[in-house]
Each structure stands twice: as C-alpha cells, then as structure tokens.
C-alpha cells in the first residue's frame, strides 16, 4: 500500500535543511495528493523541484494540442513500385468497371430543436458570445445532411476544492480556491466555449453553503468570464431546487443552463426558475429512454418550458463502465428524434468528466496482478476522457462537460475535423506501408 503524504509534510521533512533548490534523483511515485490548499508554509523552490516530473508531463500533453494538425514531411523508404506487366496468367485482364451508389436515409425527416445558451447585451444579457446547440437533420458528421452547429465544450469549475485525479488537479492548483479565477483560466488558457459552475459546497452533507451565498459565486463567475455558463447544484435533491432558484435569480437574462431537472427532485421549481429568469433547463435522466421522454414531457406540458429551452443529459458512463449503455441510449434517442418523436428532439449534453471515475484514468497501476503493465497514468487519464467523449459525439451528443485541458483540445480537434472546419495539408497515403514511423 502506498503511503499517502502531503506536499506540506515533505516541506516539513526538509525544513531544517536550509534552502533546497532541487531534489536530485527524486521521482514521484504512488498516489501523491498534492495538497496545496492545506497547511501553508510551502517552500516554492521545493514545490518546483518536486513538481518537475509532473511539469514535464503536462508540457508533453500540451504539445499534443500544439502538434495537432501539423502534418510532417512523409518519409518513405525506397520501396520499389509494383512493376507492371503480367507475371502469371491472370484470370481476368480487365477490371470489371463498377459504379458505387448509396442513398440517403429517408426516414430522417425531422430537425433537432435548436437551443441557444448565453445572451448578449442585445438580448438582455452580458455575454460576448452565445452557443447554439442542435439543429441536426442526420446523425452527427453524416453525409446525409450538414450539421448546422459544431460541438461545444463547457469546462467544470467547482465552488470549493474537490478531490481530483492528479493529472487533472495539476492544471488547477493555482485557482482551486477561487471559482472566478478558475473560470477565467479555463476560458483564457484552455479554450473552453463555456463554463460550468458546480455549487457542490451547498450540499448539506458537505458545507451546507446557503443558497444565497452560493448565488454570489455565480455572480462572480458571470463577472469573470463573458461566455455562456451552466449552473450546477450539488446533486442533493432536497437542496438543489432552492440553490438553482437563487442562482437563476442573480443570473437573470443571461440564458444559463440550469443543471439539472430530474424525476427525483422537485423539477417544477427548477423549470419555474428557468422560465421566470430566462434560462434553459438540463433534463437529466439515467440511461433510460422512457424516463427521458417522461421528464421532457413533464417539463413541456406540466411546467410550460418552451421547447427551445430544453437540453437533455441522458447520463454518461465512462469507457469500460457502461459506455455501451450510454452510447446506445444516446444513439436511440437521436434516431427517435430524427424520425419524429417530438419528446426526444432536443440537443444533448454529456458529463464526460465522469470518465475520471474509471480507475484506468487515475490509478497508478492495475489492482489486478494478472494484468499487463498499464503504463503511466498521466497519459491514460486524458485519453480515457477523450474516447468517452468522442464515442458520445458519434451518438449525437452536442455539448461536452469536461475537465482535462488536453482532453478538451483533442475532442474539439476531432469533432471539428469531422464537422468539416479543419483544413489540413493532405497526406498522401498511397504508399503508407513503406512509411518510416
């Protein structure tokens, strides 16, 4: 069992040694929680020395986004070109010329509802930009019909420090106690299209922060960034309605997405808050298409939420932990929508961050002795979030709630490539076999 130590403990260990500038031969292994918030008295030089390895990894991961889309010169070995001429008697001397044909899907006659998040000053808000989801007439990236809008990413911000995988946490250590700075950072440095502020400290079992106080944090975030935002509660079904009501009130007119209305809480209050203060509602169900229909129906019929204010979250399970259900559930929902089930013709959102719950994304090594070596987790984590996200992108998901900057870059790169936004130097694959890779 790995011994858990805190960085501040290490500082204590070395505090009598004077100025330590570097630790030679030190590698960081095991589950080290870098607990920057606790303790104080941290020696910055020591932190740097200890952080060196993680700094290198983050640099490497940052390189990925920089490298994306930059084709290199193709290096081929001198493979001999296939020689023409008849080596042996062929049964046919001419190709049977044939034309490939395929039709479009005729049953896709309906358009997914467009939902715009964020309001600019022209519409009574203070956002500089808005995000429009939905509008599809086919499965995503298909040739049957162009997608009208690309996919968007909203990055998670929390109103208090929370436990995170090491690979995630090292990106946020400087802002972990300041949601406004955190929000700024994801927009400025990590290219987030939107910000999700999770008011988790309001949970009575955590800090029980009063709703009014939590609403202050929402105001701070709205001040700090000018992109559209998602407002999330703590997930406590008793407290969330009150928290989201207060948050909706202070954010009046900004067209935020309130997360979430669900069947196990008082969704009417959340719907009413959205209607009263001009926001959209995230309709969240758990991997069950009929429950999704039921909740959407209730939001529309019972609570009078306009169609253009509903986004669905049919639940995201991580790669290896139920992504098959999440994928197929979303694909079925989208197909039903395209074929005219008007209880399901809404854009979708995914809590892609759930990928970090998969042990493959954060554990140092496999807990099972019989497994092959899992390799460094710093590279495993982001790709777990990426593959979870891209899978749901192919099922029709529109908006991604994500956490790791590298994952965000790669998911954006892929979805925008498949959308058709990315111009790249064509790569000649005619003789890929001989490529020196």
């Amino acid at each position: 069992m790995t011994k858990k130590i805190k960085l501040s403990d290490i500082t204590d260990m070395f505090k009598d040694l004077g100025d330590v500038e570097a630790l030679e031969g030190v590698t960081i292994e095991g589950d080290i929680e870098l607990d920057i918030s606790g303790g104080g008295g941290l020696n910055p030089a020591l932190a740097y020395a200890l952080g060196h390895e993680t700094a290198q990894i983050s640099l490497h991961l940052a390189n990925i986004s920089r490298m994306l889309g930059y084709p290199i010169d193709q290096v081929f070995a001198g493979t001999a070109a296939p020689t023409a001429g008849i080596a042996a008697p062929a049964r046919l001397n001419e190709l049977i010329s044939s034309k490939f044909e395929v039709g479009n899907v005729e049953e896709w006659k309906h358009t997914i509802q467009e939902v715009t998040l964020g309001a600019t000053s022209a519409d009574g808000g203070s956002r500089k930009s808005t995000v429009t989801l939905g509008g599809e007439n086919a499965l995503p990236f298909y040739f049957d019909a162009e997608m009208p809008h690309r996919n968007y990413v909203t990055m998670d911000v929390f109103d208090m420090p929370i436990g995170m995988a090491k690979a995630v946490k090292m990106n946020y250590e400087d802002v972990i106690n300041d949601p406004a700075e955190w929000a700024k950072k994801v927009v400025r440095d990590f290219n987030a299209d939107m910000v999700t502020i999770h008011l988790i400290s309001t949970d009575p079992l955590i800090n029980d922060t009063p709703a009014r106080e939590a609403a202050k944090v929402v105001e701070d975030v709205l001040q700090a960034v000018d992109v559209p935002i998602v407002i999330g509660g703590s997930g406590n079904p008793q407290k969330d309605p009150e928290v989201l009501e207060k948050a909706a009130e202070v954010a009046e007119g900004e067209r935020c997405l309130l997360a979430s209305a669900s069947l196990n809480l008082d969704y009417e209050r959340i719907a009413k808050a959205a209607n009263d203060y001009g926001h959209a509602v995230l309709s969240w169900t758990q991997l069950e298409i009929n429950a999704q229909k039921e909740l959407n129906r209730k939001l529309m019929k019972q609570c009078d939420v306009p169609r253009e204010n509903i986004v669905m979250d049919p639940t995201t399970a991580a790669l290896g932990y139920g992504l098959d259900y999440a994928y197929t559930n979303m694909e079925r929902i989208r197909l039903a929508g395209l074929m005219g089930d008007d209880e399901l013709t809404f854009p979708m959102s995914s809590g892609t961050t759930n990928a970090w719950g998969a042990r493959e994304s954060w554990m140092v090594s496999s807990p099972l002795k019989q497994d092959s070596d899992w390799g460094p987790r710093e590279y495993r984590g982001p790709i777990w979030e990426i593959v979870t996200g891209l899978t749901l992108a192919l099922a029709g998901n529109d908006l991604f709630m994500m956490m790791h900057p590298t994952s965000v870059q790669v998911v954006k790169e892929l979805t925008q490539t498949l959308f058709g936004l990315k111009e790249e130097e064509p790569i000649d694959i005619t003789n890929w076999i001989g490529a020196e890779v």
């Binding site: 069992m1 790995t2 990925i64 490298m67 994306l68 889309g69 084709p71 290199i72 070995a77 493979t79 001999a80 296939p82 080596a87 042996a88 062929a90 049964r91 046919l92 190709l95 049977i96 044939s98 034309k99 490939f100 044909e101 395929v102 298909y142 040739f143 997930g235 758990q286 790669l319 932990y321 139920g322 992504l323 098959d324 994928y327 197929t328 079925r332 493959e360 807990p367 099972l368 002795k369 019989q370 497994d371 070596d373 390799g375 590279y379 790709i383 777990w384 593959v387 891209l390 790669v410 498949l418 111009e423 790249e424 064509p426 790569i427 694959i429 890929w432 001989g434 490529a435 890779v437």
Partner: protein
C-alpha cells in the same frame, strides 16, 4: 440475413420438435436463428441428406448481409464481418473488430522479437475474461522479398497470432506467402496497379486478400466485383484512412457509405472494412501526439464500421482504450444489465469476514467481485437492487438508499448479528453520505470503504478488522 420472422425460417425446418438443438420446439429454434443466438448446424436432423436442399436454401437466407472472413488457423483464428445491422441496438454487432499491430522488415531481430512478444502477451482482465490483441501485421519497408520472408518467419517463430502481410509489391507478398501461406494470412493489398498479380497469389495460396482504393469507392467496388468474379469471396475493403482534416471526414463518409450499401443489399461491397489508424503517424512526429491521434482515429472507426484495424502504438495508454472501446461497441446489448440482488460469498468467508455492499449493475458487481477474488479476500459481497444503476449515480438518483440496503439484507435472509461477529457493513466510498441513514435503518455499524474497489486490499490492511467498541 434475408428473413425477418421465425415463421419464415420455420418453414424450412424438419418440424418434428425433436429437441436435439436444446429447444423444445422447432418454432423456438427458428426464433433463435433469427436473432442469431443459435446456428443452423445446431439442428442435427436437417444435416441429413434428405433435407439437403432445404438446408442449403435456409443457410443462404440466414447468411449475414456482410460476409464473414476468417484469417489465421487453429485456436487464434480471427473472424471479421458478419453483421446484419447498422445500429447495435437493432440486434448486436458480431465478430469484434480485429486489432492488428505492425512490425516491419527493417527491425533488428531482438527488437522484432521483443515487440511481437509484447503484442502477444498484452492482456487486461475485464468482467470475467481477458481483453487481448489479435494480430501481427508485417510491413515491407525495405522492398526486399528475402528480408520480408525472414521477418515473417521470425514472427511465426514467436507467435501463433494470425498475420497480415503488407506490401504493394507482389514479389514481396509471394516471398511472405512462401513462408506463411499455410497459415491463412490476410494479404494486403491489391490496388488498381497490382491487382492481377495479387489476385494470382490469393488464388494460388487460397488466402483472404485486402483491396485498397484510397478515397475511390468506384474503384473499390470494381476491384471487389472483379475478385468475386474470379471466385474470391474472402475480401477485405480498405477505402483508405486519411488521418487529418477534410480527408478524415471523407474517410468517415466512405466507411458509412460502404456499410450502408452493404447492409442494404449491395453484395458487391458487402465485405469487412479495414481501417489503418497507423496513418496518424504520418501526420505527427511526436510519439505521444501520434499515439493519441491514432487511438482517436481507431476509436472512431471501431464505432463506425471498421472490422479490422492496423495500428502502430503499443503503449498501454493506446492499447487499453482501443480494447475497451471495441468491447463497448461489440458487447451484446441484449445481455442483462443487472445481476440478481443477493448476498454472495467470495472465497470462504467466516463470521469475521467483511460484508461489502455494492449495486446490482452487472459491470459494477463484476468489477468489485474480481477485485476481491483476485486479491484472495474472503468476504460477503452484497448486490443491492438499484435497477442496474452504478453506485455514484444510484446515490444521486435515489436508487441506492438505506431502505434498499435493509430490504436487500432481509430478502437475502442475511442477519448481520447472526452471520457475523462484527455486525458491520462496508459501504462504497461513493455512498459515504448514506452512512448515518444505514446505521439507523439496519442497526449495524457502518464503515466507509474506498471510492474504488481496486483499493479494497489496501483499505483492509489498515481498517480491517474493525476495532472492538
């Protein structure tokens, strides 16, 4: 397949309800033929000579829309293709896509053997079985037939995994086939220039062959039609995998078009499709970036209709997601989501053994179960009925509550005071917020375990047995 209902299949069966297939009636057997959960050969009477004609006819009607192609021989044989639907929820996808990793003929011998061994031996335990890699692709970089043959030989000395022999030069392919011809390798590839010579090789050695027509579906179909005409049915189609930009988008469209046409009944194009995510390495020189992008491309084409895949990176951070996304897409959606709610034994628990609570979501349950059994922990594991929802979501959604846990214990007739010396339940770390409720409702002690069951062994070292109160 050309049949939609059990009745259509039933008409061809002997109709004696003999029960030899394991079903009580021929009608029941017919419905299993339609959902492809039993094979026609499971009906032994119909194999009799007098039913020969009906057998042949029904066999033809039941054949999957996309042809099945076998590569390799013996225990490691790889089957690809064989699908009947465009969406997995309509039935299921059959024959998971084969993952092939490359070696090349300019590698020095020690590196070659080490790489093949890594590919051969990589494994990950998952829900009761191992995820494994399937194939080795040997690429000719030198263009030298002898070098290629030597490399193929060395690979065969190291592993029985099926092979893909890769060269556009028929002489090189022939040299490879002289070594590996009786192992039914896939030869890659016939293109518009070399197709006659490659066809000769495929016929001579009776091996499956890949057809390569980068971004030219007319040419791809022409090649397929021509090879079919020459009597070859074991074909694999490669429409080219362009790794970046608009060309990647076009590549996706090509895959979608080929499969849609094949399922719709265009027999000339109804073959397994090959993706080559390895081309990502032609777009990125940094190995981490290239591995990442290769994994991304591989995932896209695992989800959308790639049946066999040629890859380069063997870093675990590439292999693990590639194996898992494949499992994700090819898992039969008809399999149960849940296990029966119960209190089960792992190993040989005694009154001093812990009682560990989890949900009845099959994936969660089997993960916890394998973490416990593979670490030789004797214990009770309790699957609470959460409607098949995992721990974190079930706590949030109200499917995992103190009352549910109480009910689960009662239904299982598991009295903690009677069955254990410690009267203690261990809740998952992600259900920590239920602690007080469970203590009140069940009247037992409650300990909070780690958030991930992989950490139970370490948790046990410091927390078990509980201190006597």
């Amino acid at each position: 397949m050309k049949l939609n209902s059990p009745l259509q299949a039933y008409k061809f069966l002997p109709g004696t309800n003999c029960g030899e297939c394991g079903e009580t009636t021929c009608m029941a057997f017919a419905s299993h033929l339609i959902d492809r959960s039993l094979k026609l050969t499971d009906c032994t009477p119909i194999l009799d000579d007098k039913f020969k004609k009906k057998y042949a006819e029904l066999d033809g009607l039941l054949a999957p829309e996309i042809r099945e192609v076998e590569i390799g021989v013996g225990d490691n044989i790889v089957k690809i293709g064989g699908d009947d639907v465009l969406y997995r929820h309509k039935l299921t996808f059959f024959n998971q896509n084969a993952l092939a990793y490359d070696v090349w003929d300019t590698m020095d011998e020690a590196d070659l053997v080490a790489r093949v061994e890594q590919i051969r031996d990589f494994k990950k335990f998952y829900v009761g079985e191992y995820l494994l890699l399937d194939m080795i692709a040997v690429r000719s970089i030198s263009g030298d037939p002898k070098k290629f043959a030597d490399t193929v030989k060395k690979v065969m000395d190291t592993t029985d995994l099926p092979l893909i022999l890769c060269s556009f030069n028929p002489k090189v392919l022939k040299a490879g086939l002289e070594v590996a011809g009786d192992k039914n390798p896939l030869i890659y590839a016939a293109n518009k220039d070399n197709w006659q010579e490659v066809a000769d090789l495929a016929l001579e050695y009776n091996v499956p062959v890949a057809l390569f027509a980068p971004n030219d579906l007319d040419m791809l179909k022409s090649l397929a039609k021509t090879f079919l005409e020459m009597g070859m049915e074991n074909l694999v189609l490669d429409p080219g995998t362009f790794p970046t930009g608009k060309d990647l988008r076009t590549t996706l469209h090509n895959f979608l078009k080929i499969r849609r046409a094949g399922i719709a009944g265009d027999r000339d194009i109804a073959f397994p499709i090959m993706a080559v995510p390895l081309t990502a390495w032609m777009a990125h020189d940094d190995p981490v970036s290239a591995s990442y992008w290769e994994t991304v491309v591989a995932s896209v084409f695992t989800i959308k209709y790639g049946d066999i895949m040629l890859l380069h990176s063997i870093e675990p951070y590439a292999l693990l997601p590639e194996m898992h996304i494949r499992d994700t897409i090819y898992t039969d959606p008809r399999k149960p989501v849940t296990v029966d709610p119960a209190v089960n034994e792992v190993g040989s628990p005694t009154a001093d053994s812990p009682v560990i609570v989890t949900t009845n979501f099959a994936l969660t349950y089997y993960t916890v179960e394998s973490d416990l059994s593979s670490n030789d922990i004797d214990c009770y594991i309790m699957a609470v009925d959460t409607d098949g929802i995992g721990v974190e979501a079930a706590v949030a959604g109200g499917q995992l509550t103190a009352a549910k846990i109480k009910k689960g214990l009662d239904d299982a007739g598991f009295d903690l005071k009677d069955k254990t010396s410690h009267n203690t339940l261990i809740l998952p770390g992600l259900a920590a917020r239920l602690q007080g409720d469970v203590e009140d409702e069940v009247g037992s002690n409650v300990m909070i375990g780690p958030p991930d069951s992989g950490r139970i062994p370490g948790w046990m070292e410091t927390n078990w047995p509980p201190e006597k109160k």
